[in-house]
């Protein structure tokens, strides 16, 4: 095998971010073989903001653009005003690097406990394709007469044919690659009529090119209910940025918890590096105690490997995680690094 070198940016971030990223890198190292990763670590997050007031300086963004792929832990800390790091660092990266697909598998692994009664691994196996660069996440909006009795605060959801078409097209491709060949649009077109109608028309138009895929539509409120009482209804789901944020947290809950939920912020056109991260946040309450579950980050590493064309390595990581999960119930509590060690050992063994 020809050896290959990949430029990898690492953003450990805040709270449990550094701990889980360390385990992700441990597994990446164990699975790499001839593959080498030229790693650059970026100290973005709460500490840097406190020190310099910076969230994501333009110069760092320019450096990130030169990388091939990014691994992120988590950002956010109670000492920083809510939204500062989320908008200034995380969302800015997603928007600037045109991560228009936020890919979030929702899959119940064997041996993992779901809070739902009577549900098996066959019932929960879907992929959510969340739009990542528009909708209510644009930051468009403002505040008038702040702090007075006459204050008005607005938030605008901006949706374009360009943005909607590319994410729907991607979702059809994902559906085409899966056995069930089903794509469900989740929106709220009976209330958000302008945006919902755009999604519906594009789904129909692009769908004409995919006659083998069956499509349907579910309102977001009903979708959250179906996640809980009929999860087997879903195969591939395409949805807007905010609805995707919400339903993938329920997805995480039904598939065994946020400690297992992986995600990729993907730029399918490869005009900039994609970024992989666990769905969970920085969990400051348990940071530094070795209590965080690194599994979501390790599964995100598997997605990263897939993205860079290392499907075999990705499958090995997934299999190692799956085997580890199958035995967890019988093991006592393990620390963050013990879980990482165990999975790393499986992939190299």
């Amino acid at each position: 095998m020809v050896s290959r070198s990949i430029r990898l940016a690492v953003i450990p971030g805040d709270g449990i971010g550094p701990e889980v990223v360390a385990e992700g890198l441990k597994v990446l190292d164990a699975v790499s073989g001839d593959l080498t990763f030229e790693q650059t670590s970026y100290d973005l997050g709460a500490a840097r903001w406190h020190r310099t007031g910076e969230t994501l300086p333009d110069s760092v963004l320019a450096e990130l653009r030169e990388q091939e792929v990014i691994l992120l832990g988590a950002v956010g800390d109670p000492s920083v005003p809510s939204g500062t790091l989320e908008r200034g660092l995380l969302l800015r990266t997603r928007f600037e690097l045109d991560h228009y697909v936020n890919l979030r598998p929702v899959k119940l692994f064997p041996g993992v406990q779901t809070p739902l009664a009577g549900v098996t691994t066959d019932d929960i196996d879907m992929v959510v394709v969340r739009e990542g660069t528009e909708g209510p996440y644009t930051g468009v909006g403002g505040v008038l007469r702040k702090g007075t009795a006459h204050e008005v605060a607005t938030q605008e959801s901006v949706n374009t044919a360009y943005g909607v078409e590319r994410v729907i097209r991607y979702a059809f491709e994902v559906a085409a690659s899966r056995p069930r060949k089903k794509l469900t649009l989740v929106h709220k077109d009976n209330v958000l009529t302008f945006a919902g109608d755009l999604y519906q028309r594009v789904l129909k138009r692009v769908g004409a090119e995919y006659p083998q895929i069956s499509t349907d539509y579910v309102h977001v409120d009903a979708a959250t209910m179906f996640f809980v009482n009929q999860p087997q209804r879903f195969d591939v789901v395409v949805t807007d940025n905010l609805f995707g944020d919400i339903i993938t947290d329920i997805g995480a809950a039904i598939a065994g918890g946020i400690g297992l939920a992986a995600s990729g912020n993907v730029n399918p056109d490869r005009t900039a590096p994609s970024m992989f991260e666990p769905v969970h946040g920085s969990a400051p309450d348990i940071a530094g105690q070795g209590k965080a579950d690194p599994t979501a980050t390790i599964l995100s590493v598997a997605m990263l490997l897939d993205h860079i064309g290392e499907g075999d390595a990705a499958r090995r990581v997934e299999q190692a995680v799956s085997d580890d999960l199958a035995e967890r119930a019988g093991l006592g509590a393990r620390s963050t690094s013990q879980v990482g060690d165990a999975i790393a050992k499986r992939v190299s063994g």
Copy 2:
């Protein structure tokens, strides 16, 4: 007891609406005693739209304003473009009659099956206070270059200090009336920073007047997860119009399904009649077959009775529903009217 007469508007609506409303009225009649309801039925919904193109004519709206309270079944039909009746009839009524509190109890009754494993009736007992007259539901927004590759569709969430304060104040009052005295704000203030910050500041300011109520904050995505894996975390929840729509459907799912979820669109200032309705939709697939569960409507009738000051009657309806639910598991399938009959019999017996 002095006899009392109440002007009640009834909007059966579409699909299963008329069927469930009939049972709600049956129970209302059975519990009324000296109370009489002067009923006026309005034929609003899909059929009228097909016939006349009208959703809610101004003249009908003017009549509704003269009523004391409204009972609604459900609106919406696949033969009508999505949003037409929802925006033109249901949301228009909520907005015009200033239903700024959308009150949605989430309560697991004894004997009812929840899809969650290991959860008891003590774990699920909350009230969601959903804002009803602003947020992303305003209909503000539009579409530019429709149908072209350059289409832009926007939806604007409009939030005012006036609107946010009145619903938060109401939520504090609800919390004050309950034993746990806890109020949770659900929003997404790390992304929707303008609106989220307004909600947070108002919560803090009004909260200073309620030192006995503990408050906390949960992001909407995390809230959906907690509904599934830690529902006991919630007592009273206050949230915006869209987030409230979403979380109350998960709420319905965990509390035994949409067939049991009641709601009130309340104008606490009583400048216009309030409107009570089941959370479920018109379910056209089962309409006319006597399969719909009228329980949500009957529980909405109990909320209606509470609103008009008939707390004793409301308690009797709730108790009858609770008793019926406790025995359901042992009974076979019952028709819509059989359920209504059974509950009506309990309240009068």
